[in-house]
Subunit: 263 residues, 3 copies
């Protein structure tokens, strides 16, 4: 395991434009700041053409759509594509309702994504697999997640990160798994959303190496989670605060030393 | 004091659909996760018919209405009624403006609620009593809260929970008071909203025993607050984090042992 | 350094109406509660005429405009002007896009503000100076901030607070600098927004002494930050929680003793 991009984030302090939801907005902005990036949370249709010209990456999260954000997402996504900055999709709860499925279908058809980051249920839905999703939670099903990741990656020409107890990353050719993390992650709301935002920061500085950057982002985030969870059992409140502390304290050395990946 | 429903929440992990506000969204989702329930925060009109079919309870909170949520509330509420899942109303700051009063009047006339949870000022307003409300805070007045709770419960055929230093619960026939809690609760924003969401989780698993479930919810939440406040004086930040920790650590035994109720 | 207004806030518990964004809403409400004020977060156009009649100050924050808030801001601002309560403007990221510049231009032309609180980049933009802003962050430029503060204060007949490593406060005649603070402030999202809200609470009780009240607000907030940062290096999560604790624990004596100002 190498660490290339964390240092670049701290050096370049990239501006990450997030179109996100009312649950994740504060936590994601704080997580990006802790990491060393500069968050910009905006979904105003009126500034979606200018914003990608100021930013180094765009993260689209469909968590709490109330209608107007959808237009903003399409506009910002297309402008980001035209400018050539990476766009990350977090298809929150896409399996839950037909409205979410249709929203994601439209985003995937009109925007070229660099990365899709979701849980098993969300990616299974995008892959067209049968899956018992449960709201925005992962739910359960019986599909091979590596196959799902590879198939979706090939179909949309992007990197896919399926996060869970084991994280699966694929660009359709290379596939890797990350074995870091803690059971406290799914007990903190928007911790998946924050991983998507963190990936946005890594992709912002990767000069096109999206697979390697996603892998490092995933290890960085899950190692920070492991460190934050040390000595904790059920303390979900403390975990959430410590996660921000550990993202700020994280060093390339910790990523190299603690990362547990299979490529 | 018995504890029946906390264990059921942990076993069944019910999906609680929250239509809530930008202040409470993150804290309430984390509180529900800590407790053992599964939060879904959505106010998209487009999915309000599907969402109640996936959920085991609906919590409607009028905290920061910006127009579109109102339609979503009515649609989700009616669908939840048709499906037969319990619906909780949190009439945040209903006494503050005529817009809030009219919103709550309409919700109460078109949706059948299982529970109305508010502070003294909010319930006094619904009961038509004179009360000096102060924004979203309780304010002050000189009415007998038991009488208010009973009257509102009878009028709307639901359980009423008036929270404050002493919490009053009534279904119009039975009335109980809960004497747990801490003065730090009103110093944390959305701590009332979270109580409403927690009640939603208890009602989701109660098989129609709404009075008993509300009573246990109220004791569970206020006991968690007491435990969180131990050793604290003015540390409102730490209290907020510890409250999440204690909701996660709470056991049926603690509810039985520490609950102080008068029935 | 004197402390006059903190005690008045605790005695009068003023209601502060905030039209704010999805990132800051929860943190600002908790910060105001910690300080001793009573927050009301609402952007519903339908109650913007009634709300200023209940409140002692209005804080307008343009952080995450999604269109409808703008009408609400104008309506609430004009009503607040008519009633005579102080109005604070936080022009978040005004330099970032033409939409934000136009929004702020309109607010400044139609509403009389008591205070404009922003970072160097935001105030330089309002002053018409060349400045390299970076999203919502301060960015960098080469202007004399005292001159900027004085000029904007004169132009709009209000107090200006430019926050940064050194905070500059001017009403066009008097100018002061505050030298308290911690490098952890810019690592916590919405910490600038919260300073604006805190200023709102001080102005709510100042009986027209806006310069003195802004000065005390700024010292109070930055001293609380210093105390919160004691013993911390990179722990941005803990800092955020401790800041709330310190705002609640803050005394007039600490303001007098620890305030470092140049007038």
């Amino acid at each position: 395991m190498k660490s290339i991009y964390l240092t670049k984030i701290r050096e370049q302090n990239p501006l990450i434009h997030n179109i996100t939801n009312i649950v994740a907005a504060n936590f994601n902005a704080n997580g990006l700041l802790a990491l060393g990036a500069s968050p910009m949370m905006s979904a105003s249709e009126e500034e979606m053409v200018e914003m990608p010209n100021l930013s180094q990456a765009l993260v689209i999260n469909i968590g709490t759509l109330i209608g107007k954000e959808q237009k903003a997402m399409l506009l910002a996504g297309k402008t980001a594509n035209a400018k050539g900055i990476p766009v990350v999709l977090d298809p929150v709860g896409v399996g839950a309702t037909s409205y979410r499925r249709e929203t994601v279908r439209q985003l995937l058809s009109e925007i070229k994504f660099a990365l899709i980051r979701g849980n098993a249920g969300e990616l299974a839905t995008i892959a067209g697999e049968t899956w018992q999703a449960k709201g925005v939670d992962a739910g359960q099903g019986d599909v091979d997640l590596k196959t799902v990741a590879q198939r979706v990656a090939k179909q949309y020409g992007c990197v896919v990160l399926i996060s869970g107890a084991v994280d699966v990353i694929s660009d359709g050719v290379q596939t890797a798994t990350v074995h870091n993390g803690t059971p406290l992650f799914p007990k903190v709301t928007a911790s998946g959303c924050l991983l998507s935002a963190v990936c946005g920061a890594f992709l912002a500085v990767d000069e096109g190496e999206h697979f390697a950057a996603t892998l490092e982002a995933c290890v960085a985030y899950t190692v920070a989670g492991e460190l934050a969870a040390q000595g904790l059992t059920t303390q979900v409140g403390q975990f959430q605060i410590r996660l921000l502390d550990e993202l700020a304290a994280l060093s390339p050395e910790m990523i190299v030393q603690k990362g547990r990946i299979n490529e």
